[in-house]
Amino acid sequence: MRYGSVVAVDHVSFSVRKGEVFGFLGPNGAGKTTTIKMLTTLLRPTSGKATVLGLDVVSEGGKIRPRIGVVQQDPSYEHALSVEGNLDLYGVLWNVPKVERKKRIELLLDKFGLKEARKTAPPELSIGQRRRLQVAREFMHDCEVMFLDEPTTGLDPQARRVTLDFVREKVRNGVTVFFTTHIMEEAEYICDRIAIINHGQILALDTIKNIKQKFGGVSVIHLRFAEDNSDVDRKLQGLLGVQKIVRSQQKDESLRVFAEDANAVLPRIIDVATTLGVHITELRIEEPSLDDVFIQMVNSKGRNRNE
């Protein structure tokens, strides 16, 4: 996708499975919103092909739109109507019957903490409340695929959690979600798989666990023993998958084992301890965070691009 001479999305290729939450992660300006705009038929790709629900986004946009829901990044609302009026009108636009509209309005006002503000017009709401209204509004109608473009921007942690849980609930009912964010903990909480995008190109696409393993470097297993046994170091060093072992300088019988796949190495460590008859009193795995992986990937690819 080009904007003049700028390539905003460059040969991106991915597929989203039915019923999953697919995270599209990237820094600001990475191409997330442009991708969503193409998939929701707002922008026509300058080249390539994209399908949603098996339908072409260029030639079959009219068939796609009634089956999707979209929370866009830009705030949007009917400025002259109350919160309740906004929800109701949106329900009318989506042809939701009156009785069902009333039911959904009450549910959403409750879930999104907007009951007190039901008669208030959006210009008088806080930024967070307006965002909650915008997200809640999209649940007034049913859809098969939901596109959420940084839906939690401006929300406090509690509201963010409520929003993500509500999205999860919809996924359990069969909705597929395409979710963009640059908040990694959010992605870890809700996404089944993620793609990391920067400068319009996908840098990685997999489950979070696999991405951490592939790109996050090593995990660290912290161990503490009840008694000193110098054989432990030697035996552990020879284990398959262990990169190195560092004993604590504090003579407290603790050591750190560095391994690419901590979960695979752990049973072998326990076997060694059992064989040598040493008791493990503390065991803790420190995995690389998605934040670390994300920053490392974005920075290194950015550097490569500039070189």
Binding site: L42, R65, Q72, H79
Partner: protein, 254 residues
């Protein structure tokens, strides 16, 4: 309800209904035109010869004021699109179960309805002047065509302008600059038969003249000699303006 009617409902509820105080304010101007300026000028121009009849100046002016109301109401179409773009509702609507074509048509029909409501209210206000007038079926058709085509032309015009102009201030300024000559270089305030030839020539290319003359034909049975041509021209210009607005609308980036 089909998609177009749902969009129309939205326009009426979210845009026009919310500006109901604005509609009331818009009625103040025609009141002044008809009851202050109209009667003021009538003291020096008691009656005038238009087409095939002699009419009082106040009666001559009233239909002109109504079509002016239509023109001002039509500017709401552009303003509504402007607001929808600013509040990102345009992008939200066009990712919904609607086509852009339905969106633009809902805007035009909603301003048509608003224009007709305004016209009805002006007629109601001016009703003491209209006592004794009888309107035939043919007259009703003239009146309806004048209001519908006038709304379509000016609504399409302001929609097209709102696509190309980047700021709200520039949009309002452009309409002011455009509407002033349209009002005065037309048959809204005076009959064209005795106007200077250059004013006649310009005014006869003005859709506001056509709409005013059609409305007078319907309401007062006053027929200017070029009325059949004016009707054809207003139909053609309204359709052309609608085509331009639709083409311009494709350029709107959500």
């Amino acid at each position: 309800m089909n998609s177009f009617l749902r969009l129309l409902y939205r326009d009426l509820k979210a845009s026009l209904w919310s500006t109901k105080s604005m509609i009331a304010v818009q009625l103040v101007t025609p009141l002044f035109y008809i009851f202050v300026a109209g009667f003021g000028y009538a003291s020096v121009i008691p009656t005038m010869s238009v087409g095939n009849r002699e009419v009082s100046y106040v009666l001559f002016l009233a239909p002109g004021v109504v079509v002016m109301q239509i023109m001002f109401a039509a500017s709401m179409a552009g303003a509504m699109l402007w607001l929808d773009k600013r509040l990102a509702m345009f992008a939200q609507i066009v990712v919904g179960p609607f086509s852009r074509w339905q969106y633009i048509l809902s805007k035009l029909v909603s301003i048509m309805l608003q224009g007709m409501l305004n016209a009805f209210l002006v007629f109601l206000i001016a009703s003491p002047l209209l006592v004794g007038l009888s309107v035939s079926i043919e007259g009703v058709l003239y009146i309806a065509a004048s209001l519908v085509l006038g709304s379509l032309f000016f609504g399409s015009l302001t929609l097209a302008i709102s696509v190309f102009i980047k700021s709200n201030e520039a949009f309002n300024a452009t309409l002011n600059v455009l509407f002033t000559p349209l009002m005065f270089l037309s048959s809204v305030y005076y009959p064209l038969e005795k106007a200077p030839i250059i004013i006649q020539a310009i005014s006869l290319a003005n859709p506001l003249t056509y709409a005013a003359d059609m409305l007078r034909a319907g309401l007062l049975q006053v027929y200017v000699p070029l009325l059949p041509i004016e009707i054809a021209a207003l139909i053609a210009e309204s359709l052309f303006a609608f085509a331009i607005a639709t083409a311009a609308f494709r350029r709107v980036k959500p």
